[in-house]
């Protein structure tokens, strides 16, 4: 599963690996080590940056606190736009962390030359290029919006919302519950992996300069992907929280 390209001097200038994993055995479970290594680094980065920003939080922000407040403001606006002033506080940690984790994963995947670190198998890259990571995040999002709906309207009340605005919508709404996590996970996974592959292939063909614009495009795309994931997650939660009965009353009134 290794593509090698031997330069004129016979030395491998670049290689590309797809679908190879560094397996760790955990009991009788198999896990992808390379995904966890980069995710731990990303988590350490996030927690470290947060601690640095809030360690000595002042009313007049100074230094790093400014940046962290900018970050907070960004995710806060994102969440508030979808969930509204009343609801967003409770969901901010989840949605905000979704964005920050995915964004940091994606960007470190492009900016940090992980591939220079040799692993026994597989290679280090953005954690989000593994379907396990994106599926985990997508399923958590599903759980989140189910939880939001159940806790707001009760089990029955939530599923009654599936009949709104008309019972014809029922099958579509049920299908949606499956397509939402699927599309979330595959969109993120596909975009990140595809970007890495395109850059990798280009590096194989022309190792200098040419891949740079694509890497810049990759930065843009991975930012957008993080934004899309977080926005969709908060939209789904907002949808589950939506109060159809009151809406009807409001329409009548």
């Amino acid at each position: 599963m290794v593509w090698m390209w031997h330069g004129l001097l016979g030395a491998p200038l670049a290689s590309l690996e797809v679908g190879e994993h560094l397996y760790w055995e955990l009991g009788n479970l198999k896990i992808h080590g390379q995904v966890f290594i980069t995710s731990w680094i990303v988590m350490a980065l996030l927690i470290g940056a947060s601690l640095l920003g809030t360690r000595n939080a002042q009313r007049v922000p100074q230094g790093w606190q400014n940046f962290m407040e900018y970050v907070l403001d960004f995710v806060r606006t994102l969440t508030r736009n979808q969930l509204g002033e009343k609801e967003y506080r409770a969901w901010l940690p989840f949605v905000g962390t979704l964005f920050l984790f995915i964004f940091t994963c994606n960007w470190t995947g492009i900016l940090v030359p992980w591939k220079l670190i040799e692993l026994p198998a597989g290679e280090l890259a953005a954690s989000t290029n593994d379907i396990n990571t994106t599926a985990a995040l997508a399923l958590l999002t599903s759980l989140a919006y189910f939880y939001a709906g159940f806790s707001r309207k009760g089990l029955l009340g939530y599923f009654k919302g599936y009949l709104y605005p008309s019972p014809i919508m029922l099958p579509f709404k049920i299908i949606e519950d499956f397509t939402k996590p699927l599309s979330l996970s595959f969109r993120l996974f596909g975009n990140i992996l595809a970007d890495e592959l395109v850059v990798g292939v280009l590096v194989l063909l022309v190792p200098v300069l040419l891949p740079v614009p694509l890497m810049v495009l990759g930065l843009f795309l991975s930012g957008i992907q993080a934004l899309i994931f977080a926005t969709l997650a908060s939209t789904y939660i907002a949808e589950a929280l939506e109060d159809h009965e009151h809406e009807e009353e409001a329409e009548i009134a």
């Binding site: 599963m1 290794v2 593509w3 090698m4 797809v18 679908g19 190879e20 994993h21 397996y23 955990l26 479970l29 198999k30 896990i31 992808h32 995904v35 966890f36 995710s39 988590m43 996030l46 927690i47 947060s50 601690l51 920003g53 809030t54 939080a57 002042q58 009313r59 922000p61 606190q65 962290m68 407040e69 907070l72 506080r89 901010l92 940690p93 989840f94 905000g96 962390t97 920050l100 984790f101 954690s127 593994d130 379907i131 396990n132 990571t133 599926a135 985990a136 995040l137 399923l139 958590l140 992996l193």
Partner: protein, 153 residues
């Protein structure tokens, strides 16, 4: 060396769509990250931001109050100033009026005094004239008689 793309996707154990225990562990790990970030990022920073907003809002309210007070004081000052101006004008007018009256009165008194003196002087003059005439009367008589005697001689 080069393998076709097709074989990459569905190869041996592993491959692109290799779902395993990574998924649940990653989910748990992510939830832990949410909890940790909530404790070290969202909560403390939100608290600071809220406090700041509260501080700004209260300061703004206070500033507005002070501004209103200042505007009220200005208005009051203007009113008092206008009243004082009016009163000053009134006092000035009164003083002027009084001065005019006083000067007129004095002029009148002076004129009366002058008139009296003139009348006195005229009376004196008339008396002296009468006295002089009375004194001259006998002399005129004797002189007349002398002239007559001379003529008749």
């Amino acid at each position: 060396m080069m393998m076709s793309v097709g074989t990459v996707w569905l190869a041996e154990a592993g491959g692109l769509f290799d779902l395993d225990a990574t998924l649940p562990l990653m989910a748990i790990q992510f939830l832990v990250l949410v909890a940790v970030l909530n404790a070290v990022f969202y909560k403390p920073l939100l608290r600071v931001v809220d406090e700041r907003e509260e501080y700004i809002r209260s300061n703004q309210a206070q500033a507005k109050e002070l501004q209103a007070k200042a505007a009220q004081l200005t208005r009051q000052y203007d009113q008092e100033l206008a009243v004082a101006r009016r009163e000053a004008q009134k006092t000035l007018n009164a003083a002027q009026e009084q001065a005019k009256q006083e000067s007129q009165a004095q002029i009148r008194v002076a004129q009366q005094a002058a008139q009296a003196q003139i009348a006195q002087a005229q009376a004196d003059l008339a008396a002296q004239q009468a006295q002089a005439l009375a004194q001259l009367e006998p002399q005129v008589q004797s002189l007349g008689e002398a002239i007559l005697a001379k003529l008749l001689v």
